[in-house]
């Protein structure tokens, strides 16, 4: 192999000839003191709040405290390399991270630098880490579901695209597992996922990346990792950086995105550390006064952006990915925005363009950013400072309970106190229909459960409700890394609420469910496909499902005779 060195030389030569030397004018200061992740700098009198500061050895920082004679800076790198007396330069820029398609599938640090073995990230675009949230006019109501693939959540605590749903619980209750299952379930849904690991053990993050890779989820996922040994400033900026990376896909490509912040309690702790070192006054639990703002400003950036429509000729290629629909395509030069815009467009189409035209959504509009922040509570204490803050900011919360977890109910979602404030609108109709019954069954069960425990004699109706409840709880159990298609979820819950599981012993419920779903996928494929397509429980599909369940139940009792007989015995004794 030989390099044509003369050509390379000529390229460099040309570059040197074209090089124009200017006098650099910069603003400088001197490091007065360095602490854990922070530095105080004398000078830099014209610096802006949030401006990036470059230290002599290339490490960067961000100005947070502007005082009369000094500037408090958080150091975004190895602060041990910074010494008293070094010079620091104001860069005139705000903090930004690289964004773009090249980030997908990569593991990066909060500055967007790759920390996996995939080489440099080739992208020219950058986005501001601390940007502001979209305003009212740019948004529209949440109307599309974001399927988590978890029965208990998709049925009773549905999440919509653009929603902020908090996952809260003690340590080791499966918070991360819920988030990871949700990411796995986005496969093939056109959703870009960003997982932000904040002050997590590197081994945990490595394990998680490995799972995502094995399950094929890294094809649409970016992992932003701030390790437990990284300085606090990195943990503080990590969620904002991850959010900026997702925002690119939401704003520039009109795509749906999902951000998991794992977890915001650690971010608040990191911010508390910085604030105390910067000598900001401590408040409740020693958190600074603006700890609410750091979470609200982050979570407000989640949004469902308004869709924009134009009226185009019938022949316009609206499905071509290489030539996306642009706002300039509109035949009347008008862009219709949001839900009212869509209605107006339909009206205009009818009135002015009776034939030969159609309404098309512009390619860059209608993106969304769904946020799943995680909060770790101590001994179930949800009235602590940070949990109450984040509960009040988000559009609902999923509570995970340790006692449920240890009782084997996994995911350990406490459906009694978990809520979703906006997702219900976005639920698919079929799920909405079966979920109503499920919620009622479970509510009745919870009321009666206490009686059952004290061994009271129960009448037949009560006993039946209890039996149904036990089976429904069993049905909502779901193994990790096995998210389910929404049609399968509907069929399972339908089987339960229609009473097809009542004759089975509780221990058989999961096996019955699995085999039933396999039966539907292979032998009743047409019916399942119709449900997948229509997403509605039409009368026809309902009767089809009932018939299929009858058929399967008969077959199940013949293939599992021992269980069937014990089931019959159980029913007889009841």
């Amino acid at each position: 192999m030989k390099f044509r060195s003369d050509e390379i030389t000529s390229l460099i030569q040309r570059e040197i000839q074209e090089f124009r030397a200017d006098v650099d004018r910069v603003e400088v200061g001197r490091v007065l003191e360095v602490g854990d992740g922070i530095a105080r700098i004398h000078g830099l009198s014209g610096i802006m709040a949030g401006e990036v500061v470059a230290f002599e050895n290339g490490i960067r920082g961000m100005a947070l405290n502007l005082e009369e004679s000094s500037v408090g800076v958080i150091i975004l790198g190895d602060f041990k390399q910074i010494r008293e007396g070094q010079t620091a330069t104001a860069t005139g820029e705000l903090l930004s991270v690289p964004v773009g398609d090249g980030m997908v599938g990569r593991v990066v640090n909060p500055l967007g630098e790759p920390i996996d073995d995939g080489g440099p990230i080739l992208t020219e675009m950058r986005r501001m880490v601390f940007s502001s949230a979209p305003g009212i006019a740019e948004r529209q109501p949440v109307d599309e579901p974001l399927q988590t693939g978890i029965k208990a959540i998709d049925s009773m605590i549905p999440i919509g695209r653009g929603q902020r749903e908090l996952i809260i619980g003690d340590r080791k209750t499966g918070k991360t597992a819920v988030a990871i299952d949700t990411i796995l379930n986005q496969k093939g849904q056109g959703v870009i996922c960003v997982y932000v690991a904040i002050a997590q053990k590197e081994s945990t993050t490595a394990q998680l990346v490995d799972i995502l890779r094995r399950e094929g989820a890294m094809d649409y996922t970016i992992v932003v990792a701030a390790g437990a040994s990284d300085p606090a400033p990195l943990a503080h900026i990590a969620p904002y950086a991850g959010c900026a990376m997702a925002e690119y896909f939401m704003y520039e490509k009109g795509m749906a995105t999902l951000c998991v912040y794992d977890d915001l309690s650690k971010q608040a702790v990191a911010y508390r550390e910085l604030s105390l070192l910067l000598r900001r006054p401590p408040g409740r639990e020693a958190y600074p006064g603006d700890v609410f703002y750091i979470h609200s400003s982050l979570l407000e950036r989640s949004a469902k952006l308004a869709e924009k429509y134009v009226i185009v000729p019938e022949s316009a290629p609206t499905e071509n990915a290489n030539d996306p629909v642009a706002e300039s395509w509109g035949v009347n030069g008008k862009v219709y925005v949001g839900v009212p815009g869509k209605e107006e467009a339909a009206h205009d189409l009818k009135a002015n363009y009776a034939t030969g035209h159609k309404i098309a959504k512009t390619a860059k509009s209608g993106g969304s950013l769904t946020a799943l922040p995680l909060i770790e509570t101590l001994e179930g204490e949800v009235s602590a400072y940070i949990p109450t803050n984040v509960i009040s900011i988000t559009d609902g919360q999923i509570y995970l309970q340790p006692d449920l977890f240890f009782a084997g109910v996994r995911p350990a979602v406490d459906v009694g106190i978990s809520v979703s404030r906006v997702g219900g609108k976005a639920q698919v109709p079929a799920m909405k229909k079966v979920a109503g019954g499920l919620r009622l069954d479970l509510a009745a069960f919870r009321e009666l459960e206490a009686f059952a425990q004290i061994g009271t004699e129960l009448d037949k109706a009560t006993q039946q409700q209890l039996d149904r409840g036990y089976r429904m709880v069993e049905l909502l159990k779901q193994p990790q890394y096995q998210p389910m298609n929404v049609a399968d979820q509907v069929m399972s819950i339908f089987a339960g609420s229609e009473g097809f599981l009542d004759t089975l012993p509780v221990s058989q419920v999961q096996q019955f469910e699995q085999e039933f779903l396999r039966f539907m996928a292979t032998e009743k494929k047409d019916l399942r496909d119709r449900l997948v397509q229509e997403k509605k429980l039409t009368d026809e599909i309902v009767s089809g499902l009932r018939a299929a369940l009858e058929e399967f139940r008969t077959r199940y009792s013949t293939t599992h005779p021992s269980q069937a007989s014990s089931a019959t015995a159980a029913v007889a004794s009841a």
């Binding site: 192999m1 030989k2 390099f3 044509r4 050509e7 390379i8 390229l11 460099i12 570059e15 040197i16 090089f19 030397a21 006098v23 650099d24 004018r25 910069v26 603003e27 400088v28 200061g29 003191e33 000078g43 830099l44 009198s45 014209g46 004679s69 000094s70 330069t89 105390l276 070192l277 000598r279």
Partner: protein, 211 residues
């Protein structure tokens, strides 16, 4: 009070509150006293000299003064016996006041603050000129003219430094503004530009690599 409860050394920790504000108060007080006798310049120069001589060159002695000797009166005696007749009387009084309040450790900060306040009052701005080789008289005169316009009317207080690592050219710092026209900086910039623009081109033109 200090005899009952020895003060804990909190310098450099988060418990060290408002050292700057305290230094500021002492600096203003010192300047007011010195100005009333029209000897501010003299006192400030001596104070700077004191800080350089004692705190930088005799750190052991500085440690003794700023707390090494726990008895305040003995420190006072030491101050008087060492500096009486040598230091300006105002400065000596000031040192003794600082000693009585257990603030001698703040002296370098007080000196720096006082100097900054005095310069600001007199519309002076510190200017550092760094060059690879010492400047000659012509260059200096030329620079002086330019500096006055750059400093926006303030009087430049020039310090010159010779830094061979600059290779050539000049680096001028006026207050917080740094003007870098050194060869070192230009080489660094050229390095960045080459990396940025040519790296991509070279990578894309793999035809330059011949088998």
């Amino acid at each position: 009070m200090s005899s009952i409860e020895p003060p804990v050394d909190v310098s450099g920790t988060v418990f060290e509150e408002g050292a700057e504000e305290i230094a500021h108060s002492y600096a203003v007080a010192l300047l007011n006293v010195a100005e009333s006798g029209d000897e501010a310049e003299l006192v400030l120069d001596e104070l700077d000299e004191f800080v350089t001589d004692i705190f930088q060159h005799q750190p052991a002695f500085a440690r003794l003064l700023s707390g090494g000797i726990s008895d305040q009166q003995r420190r006072d005696q030491l101050l008087v016996s060492t500096f009486e007749g040598r230091a300006h009387p105002t400065l000596l009084k000031f040192l003794r006041v600082l000693n009585r309040r257990d603030r001698l450790g703040l002296l370098p900060l007080v000196a720096r603050t006082a100097r900054a306040i005095w310069d600001r009052q007199n519309n002076r701005i510190p200017v550092t000129i760094r060059s690879a080789v010492p400047l000659d008289a012509d260059q200096r005169a030329l620079l002086q003219d330019r500096l006055v316009s750059l400093a926006g009317g303030a009087t430049p207080m020039i310090t010159e430094e010779v830094r061979p690592e600059l290779i050539g050219g000049l680096v001028v710092q006026i207050g917080d503004q740094l003007y870098d026209a050194s060869i070192r900086n230009q080489l660094r910039r050229m390095h960045e530009v080459l990396l940025r623009s040519r790296a991509g081109e070279l990578r894309s033109r793999l035809d330059l690599v011949v088998d």
